[in-house]
């Protein structure tokens, strides 16, 4: 393995060093260090309760870590120490956006409004901190049109532009997950943190998610850090996998390296996927080559 492939060592967008998070006597994250490569899709996996969401909450400023340092380097060349910033500054200045395990959309607002709220900070400046906006002077109207265009771009990308004016709460589950990703992307982040984006999606929707995430990386140049249990997503698209157990890192490497790591198999994956493969194979024989590729 050459080092040039390991972007997370050569050009990290986020570096987490010696992160520890204690809740009372409980150690949720214990001396964790890892890096997220610029332009990489990095997966954070591990058994339930390993502390993955806690790591996310520390990175995005929702928790203040007990100890540790997290440095974020957005494209503009600045460096931000995330453990010192309040949550909304992490999103605004350090350019880290996130989604939530149990979807948090503004359900009574339309899809378009959801995406406009995500562009709050630039629009707020355009409206002259509201004062010019109320008086109807300044270039707010033009800026709002731009924001709407940006929202339309993302609605097209997630295939929901036809429902732009429907309330977000009316969408089916899978579409809500995609909208939440689009909303996070409307803040213009350099690092997108996704907490179980494929949970509750069927295989087809998971595949759509994969291509959405790949296109976010290619076209928007946003690095992605995701927590996921769906191995088709993790192994299918990630460049780098970090495995946690009991708040400690047990493996860190490429997908192939980690999936063959005996410690990961024992703690997380269980028996190798051979059983699944065996049945898939059996079924392919039954249905033949014409079956189901439609």
């Amino acid at each position: 393995m050459t080092t040039s492939l390991r972007k997370w060592d050569s050009d990290p967008v986020l570096t987490v060093e010696h992160l520890t998070m204690r809740f009372g006597g409980l150690v949720a994250v214990n001396d964790l260090s890892f890096s997220v490569g610029r332009g990489d899709i990095t997966a954070l996996i591990g058994p339930n309760g390993a502390g993955k969401t806690t790591v996310f909450n520390c990175i995005t400023g929702f928790y203040k870590p007990t100890t540790g340092m997290m440095s974020m380097r957005p494209r503009d060349g600045s460096v931000h120490l995330l453990e010192r910033l309040p949550d909304f500054i992490v999103a605004r200045k350090a350019k880290v956006a996130r989604t939530f395990q149990n979807i948090r959309l503004f359900s009574g607002m339309t899809l378009l409004e959801n995406l406009l709220v995500a562009q709050h900070n630039p629009l707020m400046i355009a409206s002259g901190m509201t004062i010019l906006g109320v008086l109807g002077i300044g270039g707010y109207k033009a800026k709002e049109r731009e924001a709407i265009e940006r929202a339309r771009y993302w609605l097209d990308k997630i295939g929901l532009s036809g429902r732009a004016d429907d309330p977000a709460g009316d969408l089916p589950y899978g579409a809500q997950r995609r909208l939440e990703i689009a909303r996070a992307m409307c803040t213009g982040p350099d690092l997108l943190c996704l907490d179980e984006p494929a949970a509750g999606l069927n295989p087809r929707e998971s595949a759509e998610l994969n291509s959405l995430l790949l296109s976010i990386r290619e076209q928007d140049g946003t690095s992605i850090l995701l927590i996921e249990h769906d191995m088709s997503v993790v192994m299918g698209i990630s460049d780098h996998v970090v495995v946690l157990e009991y708040g400690t890192k047990i493996a860190d490497g490429t997908p192939t390296e980690t999936r063959n790591d005996p410690r990961v198999i024992a703690a997380y994956l269980g028996v190798d996927d051979e059983e699944v493969e065996e049945i898939e194979h059996e079924l392919d024989e039954v249905t033949g080559s014409e079956g189901g590729r439609a």
Binding site: L105, E113, L116
Partner: protein, 464 residues
């Protein structure tokens, strides 16, 4: 399809049957009430048992029962049946749209009506007779409309339950009273000053309070409302204590005409009209109407600006707001401050209109009434809040007028005393009938193709 069903239902109202029902029930009621109520035994001066004839009363009660039954049969039962059918057929988006159109139509007609209202009243009751209708109804209701719209920003849009709103009303009123008396400044200078002072107090109170959520926020804001009132009572040198402040200057017509009887530029004198306070009342009416419309205009503007969207997003999900880089503390503070500012405007108007302020006017009951107006109107809806203010304030004023009830219940009956009881009953009924308030649907602030009304079921109420 649904229109067909409806017209059938309407044809189904059988007035003949309803009338028959009413008459029969009336007769039965009289048969029962005649002996029970119509005949009363009593003792006379000579200690003899005598029979008092009250058949008239029994007849009146029977007629009420009969008419009630007629109304039930003719309107209420068919309406309930139709309602059942309709909810089965499911309310479509088109119906939501139609309702939104009705609301819009209502607001335009309402607006025109509000502007011609004093003229209409004067032509109906004459100059002197108009005072009651313009002042007790018009001005009084509009003050609460304005307060409701101001608090609507805090509760309806930002979802912060503020039970101490009357504190800012008091700040506005005392600001005007004290500054006008001590520094002889005009209303037109002091109106913005009162608003700014109230907003300033909103921020000062908001800073510590807005860290709290839900019930805790409600309790602490309630306490702040009371603290302001108690300070006003106890700091006698400053505020005159519970005696209050009197002879507060009236509003002038931009300094050109005065409404003081003694002033040389008195409005009535200048136009050679008979002296009457009615002109001042009409002037006040238009003043509060414009202030209320200013509130509405700014609120509508704000809703379409990023700050307004952030308020509504805050009501929907605060955590998500923070993840999108929105400073929720500042956003809450602006909602608090802007809401307080409108409260301050209304307060200074109130002081100028009454000519007298005392802590009595700013008790918790006032806050409760304003919150009730916002909740009843449907949180976030301007037209709903206005309707609720008309119903609540106009309704209680109307109850003072129900003197004819004395004929039924005897001379000692004072309808005014049952005001609160009826008021509570009406609130319960409306909340059962429309749990999300008069107008629960939400209008989106931006659209790509078509503005679609959002059903109230999806809109959250906020959590503090």
């Amino acid at each position: 399809m649904s229109s067909v069903v409806k017209s059938k239902d309407r044809a189904g109202i059988d007035f003949g049957r309803a009338l028959k029902d009413g008459v029969i029930i009336g007769i039965i009621a009289f048969a029962l009430l005649g002996p029970l109520v119509g005949l009363k035994t009593d003792q006379n001066m000579a200690n003899e048992l005598i029979l008092q004839n009250r058949l008239g009363l029994a007849a009146i009660l029977s007629v009420i029962v009969g008419v009630g039954r007629f109304l039930l049969s003719a309107f209420v039962y068919p309406w309930i049946a139709a309602r059942g059918n309709r909810s089965k057929a499911a309310v479509t988006l088109a119906e939501l749209e139609a309702r939104a159109r009705v609301t819009r139509g209502l607001s335009i007609t309402g607006l025109i009506f509000l502007f011609v209202y004093p003229i209409l009243i004067i032509s109906l009751f004459g100059v002197q007779g108009s005072i009651k209708w313009v002042d007790n109804y018009g001005v009084q209701i509009l003050i609460y409309v304005m307060l409701g719209w101001g608090l609507n920003i805090v509760i309806g849009l930002a979802g912060l339950l503020d039970l101490g709103y009357v504190a800012f009303y008091a700040v506005g009123a005392y600001s005007y009273a004290l500054l006008a008396i001590n520094f002889h400044l005009s209303f037109w200078v002091l109106l913005p000053v009162a608003g700014i002072l109230a907003a300033f107090w909103g921020i000062i109170l908001g800073f510590p309070v807005l860290r709290l959520r839900g019930d805790y926020l409600a309790i602490v804001t309630l306490a702040f409302g009371e603290i302001i009132r108690l300070v006003l009572i106890n700091w006698k040198d400053f505020s005159g204590g519970s005696a209050g402040i009197s002879s507060i200057p009236k509003v002038t017509m931009f300094g050109i005409y005065s409404f003081d009887v003694s002033a040389p530029n008195n409005f009535a004198k200048a136009f050679h009209l008979a002296a009457s306070s009615a002109y001042y009342k009409v002037f006040l009416y238009y003043l509060i109407l414009l202030l209320a419309l200013l509130t509405a205009f700014i609120t509508i503007r704000l809703r379409r600006l990023p700050i307004g969207r952030a308020w509504e997003a805050l009501r929907e999900d605060e955590v998500a707001c923070r993840s999108l880089g929105i400073n929720t503390t500042n956003t809450k503070l602006t909602a608090f401050a802007i809401g307080a500012m409108f409260g301050g405007f209304a307060g200074s108007f109130f002081a100028a209109r009454q000519g007298f302020v005392s802590p009595e006017s700013f008790i918790f009951m006032e806050s409760a009434v304003i919150v009730a107006i916002v909740v009843l109107g449907g949180m976030g809806s301007m037209i709903g809040v206005a309707l609720a203010a008309v119903a609540m304030i106009g309704g209680t004023e109307l109850l003072r007028e129900l003197d004819f009830l004395k004929l039924v219940f005897g001379k000692d009956f004072n309808p005014d005393q049952y005001r609160m009881l009826l008021f509570g009953l009406a609130m319960v009924i409306i909340m059962v009938w429309k749990p999300r308030g008069f107008v629960s649907a939400r209008q989106p602030t931006a659209f790509l193709f078509k503005r679609k009304t959002v059903s109230g079921d999806l809109v959250k109420e906020g959590h503090g």
